[in-house]
Every structure is written in C-alpha cells, then in structure tokens.
C-alpha cells in the first residue's frame, strides 16, 4: 500500500477513541456539552434531576406524613411548621407535593415505557415496508388521532374505572399515534438513504435493518418527542385528576390536589397554587430539556 495517508479534515477534537465504549462515551460527552451550553436546557435538566432526587428521597425530604390527617389544623396558610400550608384535611401540602413527585414520575415513566416502543415499532414497520402494512397501520393511527384525545382518555377511564393505572393506560392509548407518525416519517426519509441501501445490498434481513439501522436513526427524534410529551402527560394526568378520573384519594397526585383544592381556592390560594406551580415547573422543565435535546440530537427540525 503506497498511497500516502493524509488527513484532510480537521483533526477530531478528542483524538482517536480506543474502543467502541470510549467512542460512545465521547459521542455522548460531546452531545452533553452542547446541551449544557444552553442555559435554559440546563435549568430544565436541573429541575428534572431535582425531581428525581426528591422522589428518591421523599421520606427524608418530606416534613410530614403526606396521608396523615390533622383535622385540627385544616387549611392553614404557609408557615414555618407547614411550608406550603395544609389542605382541607390538615395534611401538609409540601409533603404531599414531595410524595406526589413519585406519582408523577410513575405516570411519566410508565406511559413512556408503553408509548415509546409501541409508537416506534408501528411507525418504523409501516414506514419501512410501505404497501398494505403501511395502509393498515396508518388507518389505525388515523382513527386514534381523529379520536379526541382527552375524550378517549375519559372514555377509557370511564370504562376501566378511575384510578392511576387506568389513567396511565388511557394516556398511553392516546399518545402513541403521534410517535408512530413521527417514526414513520423519519423512516420514510431514511429508507432510500444510501447507508440503508448498502446494508440491503449486503443481504441483511429486514428485521436486522429495522433494528440496527433504521431504529437508531429514529430514536433521537422519538426520544426528543417523548421528552416533550412528558409535559403533556403530566398535564393530561392533571386534567383527568381535575375531572375526578385520575389518581384517587388519598394518593397525592398533583392534578388531583388541584382538583380537590379548587373548592377552597378563593380563600386558600396555596391549595391550588402550590401543586399548580409544581406541575408547571416540571412540565416546563421537560419542555425546555426536550427543546435543548432537539437542538443537539435533531438539528434538522430547527
């Protein structure tokens, strides 16, 4: 081999990685660095991390038992004893918010775990194969999309009976079609790409192409979308809670807290303001974080 090697591109900043793991690490580190450059995304990330910590250490963070009623101390304004005041049963709102973060995370993660894979699978398969498979899948998503979201959730909750898990299922049912469409659109733009054609010409099976080549490319935009969905999930759960169909008492779910507290809202602003702020902060954080992620992972969409 006599051809001389010369590097024409600027040298990669981090030098040559020595293993796949390292390469992956470098890749992630680069993305993270890019993400951290945007102060808003950092703020979002911090709030999310805070939420995770609070949820993980809820018993230590909370000042009271979130379920303990203290009928002598109902509807007390925020004070040193009860930082965010108490509700109509004298329960400490701060502690309920702290434990509520667990509920919120539970809902978010469960919905995401259901919606992500389902949406991704449907979208990727129908986008890649096209033809009647695509037609059938897309008709089904059309049906779900044309179904009014909150109503579908309402109907399912009504069908299954109110409750946290049922709310989760209902929300999941309404939120997979957009993911599927996204993944499909992404796949459609990919399936004629040279690198997909290249593996096809190497004899790779469809399953292999879908799993190893197409899915990873859709993943980033799907992940971004899922992150931004999380805000929506929180709000839908809160909306269901507001209509009395979400989490059930005495579970300290934030939406249900607003729903219960709104009866006292005009006198006791803290009953709705505190969980309202919590919902807003967290969903804003997910939105900001998702937005930042999109800038990093998915520069095309901007």
């Amino acid at each position: 081999m006599t051809a001389t090697m010369t590097i024409t591109a600027p040298k990669p900043a981090n030098g040559s990685p020595q293993s796949s793991a390292q390469a992956l690490r470098q890749n992630l580190a680069r993305s993270l660095k890019k993400l951290l450059r945007n102060p808003l995304s950092v703020a979002g990330l911090l709030v999310i991390l805070g939420l995770l910590l609070v949820a993980a250490f809820a018993p230590w963070v909370a000042t009271h038992n979130p379920l303990a009623q203290d009928l002598a101390n109902t509807l007390k304004a925020p004070s040193a004893e009860h930082w965010f005041g108490t509700d109509e049963y004298g329960r400490d709102i701060f502690s309920r918010l702290v434990y509520g973060s667990r509920v919120t995370l539970y809902i978010i993660s469960l919905v995401t775990v259901i919606v992500g894979p389902v949406g991704l699978a449907v979208g990727v398969v129908s986008g890649y194969f096209g033809g009647w498979i695509d037609t059938v899948f897309m008709r089904i998503t059309d049906i779900f999309v044309s179904f009014p979201g909150l109503v579908l959730a309402l109907a399912f909750v009504a069908a299954l009976g109110p409750g946290l898990d049922h709310a989760v299922i209902a929300i999941a049912l309404t939120s997979w079609p957009p993911i599927a469409r996204l993944a499909r659109a992404e796949t459609l733009s990919l399936r004629r790409a040279d690198y997909i054609v290249a593996v096809q010409l190497q004899g790779a099976s469809s399953l292999r192409i879908l799993l190893r080549h197409v899915t990873p490319m859709c993943l980033s935009s799907v992940v971004v979308r899922l992150t931004m969905n999380m805000a929506g999930i929180i709000l839908t759960a809160a909306g269901l809670g507001f209509l009395g169909l979400g989490a059930q008492p005495p579970v300290p779910e934030w939406g249900a807290m607003i729903s219960a507290g709104r009866r006292y809202m005009l006198e006791c602003w803290w009953l709705v303001a505190m969980p309202g702020m919590a919902i807003m902060m967290v969903s804003l954080a997910f939105n900001l974080f998702g937005d930042g992620m999109r800038d990093v992972l998915d520069p095309r969409s901007e």
């Binding site: 081999m1 006599t2 051809a3 001389t4 090697m5 010369t6 590097i7 024409t8 591109a9 990669p12 040559s16 990685p17 020595q18 293993s19 796949s20 390292q22 390469a23 890749n27 790409a193 040279d194 690198y195 054609v197 290249a198 593996v199 096809q200 010409l201 190497q202 004899g203 790779a204 099976s205 292999r208 190893r212 080549h213 990873p216 490319m217």
Partner: protein, 259 residues
C-alpha cells in the same frame, strides 16, 4: 469468460400511463478483471444500471448474468458475496450512528463470517486507514476517509465485482487522486472487476480499459479508452465530452442550443 453480461436490459418506473422507461435495451459485457467505465449526462440511467446489477431493482426485463450465471430477481447471500457497490456520496453512505468497526462488522455478521476482528484490521490496512480509526464515527472522518471506509465495507465480503457509482465526484481533486490510486492498487492486487460510473472522462481514462457512453437510457457509444487519447471519437456526444474535459473555449458551446 465475461464477468458481467448485460443483454437487452429494459427498465421502467411508474405504472400505466405514467410509466417512463429509463433504460432501453442496454447491452454490454465486462471481462474478468476488467475495469469498465460508464459515462453520460445526468439522468441518462448510469446509476440505474448499477442498481439493477446490485439487486436493488428487480423489475427489469432482459438478461443479466455474472460469471455466466443468470441473475434472479431475488437478492441472495451468494450474490452479495460476489457483487458489492460503492456509492457516490461518502457523506450519505455511512450510517451516522455506527462506528467504523460496527459498519465493517455488520456484513460479517450477516454472512456469519469468522475472525471478524482480524478481517477488519486487514481490510483497514488495505484501504490505507490506520487501525485506530476503528472506533470513529463518520462525522470524525474526512470525505476521503469515509470513501475509504465505504470501499472497505464493500471489500470485506471479498466480492469479485465492485460497482462504483461516481466514487470520487464528491471529493476534492487531491483526495480523488488518492482514491483513484487506491482503486487501481486494489484491482491489481485482488483481481477485481470494476464497473465504474462517472461523468468525468478523465477519471475513466485513468482507471478504465473500456468505456460506454450513455444518453437517455441508451448506450450510444462503446470504445476503448486508449482510443480517446489524442483522437477524435466518432459520436458527437462523445466528442463533446472529450473536448470539454480537455479545455474550455467559447466556441464549444456552439451551436447555442437552449438547455
């Protein structure tokens, strides 16, 4: 024996009234170890011929055979081992999320080949990439390096035929020279057969033994590259191609035909 035989290849896209025929009775043969060039204007069907041979399209009519064996419609593993393709755009032909190693290991995994690490090492050496490039992502490589990876990916299955679709047109002159040298070396070393598509007659002249000129889905001229050198080809289109690749002069554009 001819390595590649194309006889009466016809292909249309679309159905019914909207159908457009893209290839009309394309015929040519490429001998074993030969480098065959395919030139012509944009949209004349050069890439399409390659894709038919590679197995991406399977609704062609006519007869294609490789090494005497007629090609079926289905892409089977045996055919993949014989024919591989290198694409025009080195920026689009590598999976952006796969490292060089992953990209090279993929065909080995598909065909269940052993000694993967060794093979990857040796193929990287062959295309002139240092071994520590294994764990790089495409965006960490220059265009020329990417094209080397793409060539390595095609060669790792040890095919007899390499279909090259404008492998250097996205590259700088200096890098193009490196890749052309590499291709020339590989051919000599492994006895590969090339079918090279390009619109640059210089490249063809440098690398190929024979060249076919395509226009609107037909082969209009077929000649030895040695015949180009210093002479005036018979077909007017070929003549213009040759002229244009030599130099520019105001008169060549005459008669002024509107585009």
């Amino acid at each position: 024996m001819a390595m590649i035989e194309v006889e009466g290849l016809n292909l249309s896209f679309g159905e019914g009234a909207e159908a457009t025929q893209v290839l009309h009775d394309v015929c040519f043969q490429v001998g074993d170890g030969e480098a065959f060039g395919l030139v012509g204007e944009s949209g004349s069907g050069k890439t399409t011929v390659l894709r038919c041979l590679a197995g991406q399209y399977n609704h062609w009519r006519g007869r294609l055979s490789i090494h005497g064996e007629g090609l079926g419609r289905k892409l089977d593993h045996a055919r993949c081992r014989k024919v591989q393709m290198v694409f025009q755009d080195p920026y689009g032909s590598l999976h952006p999320r796969h490292t060089v190693e992953t990209a090279l290991a993929e065909p080995l995994a598909i065909h269940g080949m052993d000694r993967r690490s060794e093979r990857i090492d040796s193929i990287l050496g062959k295309v002139g990439l240092p071994a520590n490039f294994r764990y790089r992502y495409p965006h960490q490589l220059s265009g020329g390096q990417r094209q080397r990876v793409a060539i390595a990916r095609a060669l790792i299955l040890e095919p007899r035929i390499l279909l090259l679709d404008e492998p250097t047109s996205a590259l700088d002159v200096s890098v193009q020279a490196e890749i052309l040298n590499l291709l020339a070396d590989l051919r000599v070393r492994d006895g590969l057969t090339y079918l090279l598509v390009t619109h640059d007659l210089g490249v063809v002249a440098h690398l190929c033994d024979r060249v076919a000129v395509m226009q609107q889905g037909r082969i209009v001229d077929l000649l030895e590259t040695s015949a180009i050198v210093g002479s005036q080809p018979a077909h007017p289109y070929t003549r213009m191609l040759v002229e244009a690749s030599r130099h520019y002069s105001r008169d060549m554009a005459n008669p002024p035909v509107a585009a």
